[in-house]
């Protein structure tokens, strides 16, 4: 039976196509002039350029991090193009009718129709194609509610005060190597602002697509939820199937003011490389949110793609009674490597955090949870509960857990538990005896294993995530 499971977990990567779109792409390489050109292309004000240059200079001083248990060929930062945009975007289209039809077809193929009338009601989409945002839907409806949802490049022009105030306020330019790089060269991303007391009337969502070869994607997302507001934000991502590795180094910053709530969900499906580990996206992402008094930030992620993932969506629980949550499913197969987890920094009194992490390893992949729970001396009565479960499918993979716990407060309580298990022959036999085929049975067991996390996802995403796991396990059993 386990041989059946072992059998090539060969998965079709449905999003692996390339679109022929005429693009304007910078030549490879990075120096100060490239940053000046990016800034110029975007017509940015002087302060933004200065901000980028500071990040760049900080980056030059920093050492590229190396992580235990993660192995991959080094990135050649001079062999990447730092800007690529469809030519049709040069004079930004005013409506969808002006958007290159090939672009629209690309998103349709990915199952993300951008025509508003075709969209499921209740979700507004910002689509980012290589380095630029191509379209943002439902903007007027959102504006009526006072919600700002636009490409960050546009926000730099339209809302400079907000950007100046919040950009880099959660993830400083100098935070880490990839955050500094992102600060220097980020090209687009989404900006969300929810005013005081407003419950955002629909789900907001951004779809990222890397299309061009040898380009890196460096998007930046900033979400600010003012006092007492609420927003649920989703992101999805795909890329063509290529033999070369491509770099994706994003930064996401969340600010939840007093009593605000931000729910941030990700379904990450970058191209994972082939069975032998050839190609695939390096997904090196910095995501962090800050919670003020009584605020709540909830990160939910389903990670099935990328050849190497390095990602720790974190919460700084600054305000008293604030809450941080992290729900994660990470599936690795082939030669994928995932090193993901979270940091919960408890600063305020009675702060609470919950971490539920489910890792599924198959093939020759390695899947690690790495997390930090920190209780500061003023975090009286703070609580953390962490549960990390690993499921191993086959005996060629690895599952690892590295939780760092630090406490300086005698009244804070930290609880961490981790277990490992496998899909047992008995479980499979039982399912099969009840008439299910082995593939369905494994998929059922895996879905059951992930249930706690899936229930945190917004409905449509839950369906999509379930499908992704199904595709991932397709052909894995006889």
């Amino acid at each position: 039976m386990s041989e059946q499971i072992d059998q090539a977990l060969s998965r079709k990567y449905d999003a692996g196509f390339y679109s022929e779109i005429e693009s304007e792409t910078f030549e490879n390489g990075l120096d100060e002039s490239v940053i000046r050109r990016i800034s110029e292309m975007k017509g940015e004000p002087e302060w933004m350029l200065e901000w980028r240059l500071k990040a760049y200079n900080a980056w030059l001083q920093m050492e590229e991090p190396e992580w235990a248990h993660v192995e991959y060929p080094k990135v050649d930062f001079q062999a990447i193009s730092y800007y690529s945009a469809p030519k049709s975007m040069k004079d930004k289209p005013k409506s969808l009718d002006e958007v290159d039809p090939e672009l629209l077809r690309t998103y349709e193929k990915l199952g993300i129709p951008l025509h508003e009338q075709e969209m499921l009601a209740g979700v507004a989409v910002d689509a980012v194609f290589d380095s630029v945002s191509v379209v943002t839907t439902f903007r007027e409806k959102l504006e009526d509610a006072g919600v700002i949802f636009c490409p960050i490049s546009e926000a730099v022009h339209k809302y400079p005060e907000l950007i100046k105030k919040y950009l880099g306020s959660v993830v400083p330019r100098t935070d880490n190597f990839y955050a500094a790089l992102n600060g220097a060269v980020f090209t687009d991303g989404s900006f969300v602002f929810i005013p005081k007391g407003v419950r955002c009337p629909m789900e907001l969502s951004t779809y990222f697509r890397i299309n061009e070869q040898n380009t890196g994607q460096f998007e930046r997302t900033l979400i600010v939820a003012e006092e007492g507001s609420y927003v649920s934000y989703l992101e999805g991502c795909t890329a063509p199937q290529r033999d070369e590795n491509q770099l994706h180094a994003a930064v996401v910053e969340l600010v939840a003011m007093d009593d605000a709530q931000i729910k941030y969900s990700t379904v990450q499906n970058w191209y994972p490389g082939d069975e032998d580990g050839k190609g695939g996206i390096y997904n090196f992402v910095t995501k962090r949110g800050i919670c003020h008094t009584n605020a709540k930030i909830s990160w939910t992620q389903v990670e099935t793609g990328s050849s190497v993932t390095w990602k720790y969506p974190s919460c700084v629980l600054k305000g008293d009674n604030s809450v941080g949550e992290f729900y994660s499913v990470a599936l690795t197969r082939g030669r994928q490597q995932a090193d993901t987890g979270t940091k919960m920094i408890h600063l305020g009194k009675n702060t609470r955090s919950t971490i539920i992490s489910k890792g599924i390893s198959a093939g020759k992949s390695n899947n690690a949870y790495r997390g930090l729970v920190q209780m500061g001396p003023r975090a009286d009565g703070a609580r953390n509960f962490t549960e990390c479960d690993s499921l191993l499918i086959g005996d060629q993979c690895g599952a690892h857990t590295f939780p760092y716990i630090e406490s300086r407060n005698p009244t804070a309580i930290v609880e961490h538990e981790a277990t490992t298990s496998k899909v047992s022959d008995e479980q499979l036999f039982l399912c099969q005896q009840r008439g299910l085929d082995a593939e369905k049975a494994v998929s059922m067991i895996v879905n059951g294993f992930c249930k706690e996390v899936f229930k945190e996802l917004p409905m449509e995403f839950a369906v999509e995530a379930g499908k992704l796991l199904e595709i991932s396990l397709e052909g894995s059993v006889g």
Partner: protein
């Protein structure tokens, strides 16, 4: 590179005995590794500043140090005073099947046995283990014949009374189905640095009962380790008690090299103001069907700092392993600090592994229960806090040892403030 390490490396050049070839290898590895940098994961939470700039000088030797006694316990004492073996081994009357030799007086056969253990069980990554390999001339070899069941406890003492460095080594071989109890006991508070490493080769079906009491305090710095290699169906029951000092670091490694071996390990640390204690443990399952269970509990007092790193490593072949690790901590004040990291590194799918770590305060319900019986709050808190470690003391197989230890811990605890 640290001044201390440079001097140690210099001094190591003139160490020459039957272990020279291994000593040279370790020295070369040490030179290559250099001083652990800030990024060295192994030393991430434990500042080495108190050693880094130290002068590497040998401690002067006291010939008749006061040896702590344990009532009602039959022991064979091997005493290292400030790094020098002061027990005349030839004077000891040893039970049949037990042989003890100092490294200096080991005969040809014993030299061969020692060579097969020395630096072969201890992982090579440890900077201070390499130092010990290179310079520890003072050491003992304890050898139990196959099938021999040794009653008295072999106690190896490291006593620190003088300023300076001490490096001692213990090598233990248990033959097939042999039984032995070894206690590694360190005490003292002089401005010293003791590196004390022990390697245990436990043959098939043999059983080792092991104690490591690391009771150095004050400025007595200790860096050491106990490293075990288990043969088929071998078993280990180990109890560790640590106080903290300016710098205290122990590494315990259990290596399952034979199938169906079993390891049980309990660790207690009780840290008072200004003390640091760092415990790194590894349960290494290299073969199938092994079982391991580890429980580590600590109380971190006001102004004290504890570091715990407990790793379970299951190799690709080690199917059907059962391994469990649990670390629980209590902090007594806002000036207490704990860094704990239980790690799982698993490469085999048909295994049951779990770990847990908690940092918590006293259970409210238990406190209420005690108050409802009229016990004063302060007393109840002390009983509950102390009960937390007492639970592990009561699991000690030898009653005489538990009876000796409990009042000692209780007294230490009573001097710590419980808020």
């Amino acid at each position: 590179m640290s001044q201390w390490l440079e001097q140690v490396i210099d001094n190591a050049q003139d160490v020459s005995d039957f272990l020279s070839s291994q000593r040279k290898k370790s020295l070369a590895a040490l030179q290559e590794q250099g001083w652990p940098g800030k990024r060295a994961e192994q030393w991430r939470f434990t500042p080495l500043t108190s050693v880094e700039k130290r002068k590497a000088i040998k401690a002067k030797v006291t010939d008749e140090p006061a040896v702590p006694q344990i009532d009602k316990l039959d022991t064979i004492d091997l005493v290292f005073a400030d790094g020098k073996l002061v027990t005349d081994i030839s004077e000891l009357s040893l039970p049949k099947g037990l042989k003890i030799k100092s490294l200096k007086k080991a005969g040809d056969d014993e030299q061969a046995a020692i060579k097969s253990i020395f630096a072969k069980i201890k992982p090579a990554r440890h900077t201070f283990g390499l130092v010990n390999d290179a310079v520890a001339k003072q050491g003992v070899f304890i050898d139990v014949a196959a099938g021999a069941k040794i009653k008295p406890v072999v106690r190896v003492l490291n006593l620190s009374t003088q300023t300076g460095d001490a490096h001692t080594r213990v090598l233990v071989r248990l033959g097939e189905a042999a039984k032995l109890t070894v206690m590694e006991h360190g005490e003292g508070s002089a401005d010293s640095l003791t590196t004390a490493f022990a390697e245990y080769s436990i043959a098939d079906h043999a059983h080792l009962e092991h104690y490591r009491f690391a009771l150095f305090t004050g400025k007595a710095k200790q860096i050491g380790g106990s490293h075990f290699k288990l043969g088929e169906e071998a078993s280990l029951n180990s109890t560790l008690v640590g106080y903290g000092s300016e710098l205290s670091r122990l590494d315990i490694d259990v290596w399952h090299a034979g199938e169906h071996a079993n390891a049980k390990m309990n660790a207690i640390y009780l840290l008072a103001e200004g003390e640091l204690f760092d415990l790194h443990t590894t349960l290494e399952h290299a073969v199938p069907n092994g079982t391991s269970e580890e429980n580590a509990r600590g109380i971190v007092g006001d102004g004290a700092r504890a570091v715990f790193n407990g790793r379970i490593h299951i190799h690709r072949d080690a199917q059907k392993t059962l391994a469990e690790l649990n670390n629980r901590n209590l902090l007594l004040s806002r000036r207490s600090l704990i860094n704990t990291k239980p790690e799982l590194e698993i490469y085999a799918d048909d295994v049951k592994c779990a770990h847990g770590a908690t940092v918590a305060e006293i259970d409210d319900t238990a406190l209420y229960y005690m108050l409802s019986r009229g016990i004063p709050r302060s007393k109840a808190l002390v009983m509950l806090n102390f009960g937390f470690i007492q639970e592990l003391v009561t699991q000690i197989p030898k009653e005489a040892i538990a009876d000796w230890l409990l009042p000692k811990l209780s007294e230490r605890f009573s001097q710590m403030e419980v808020k």
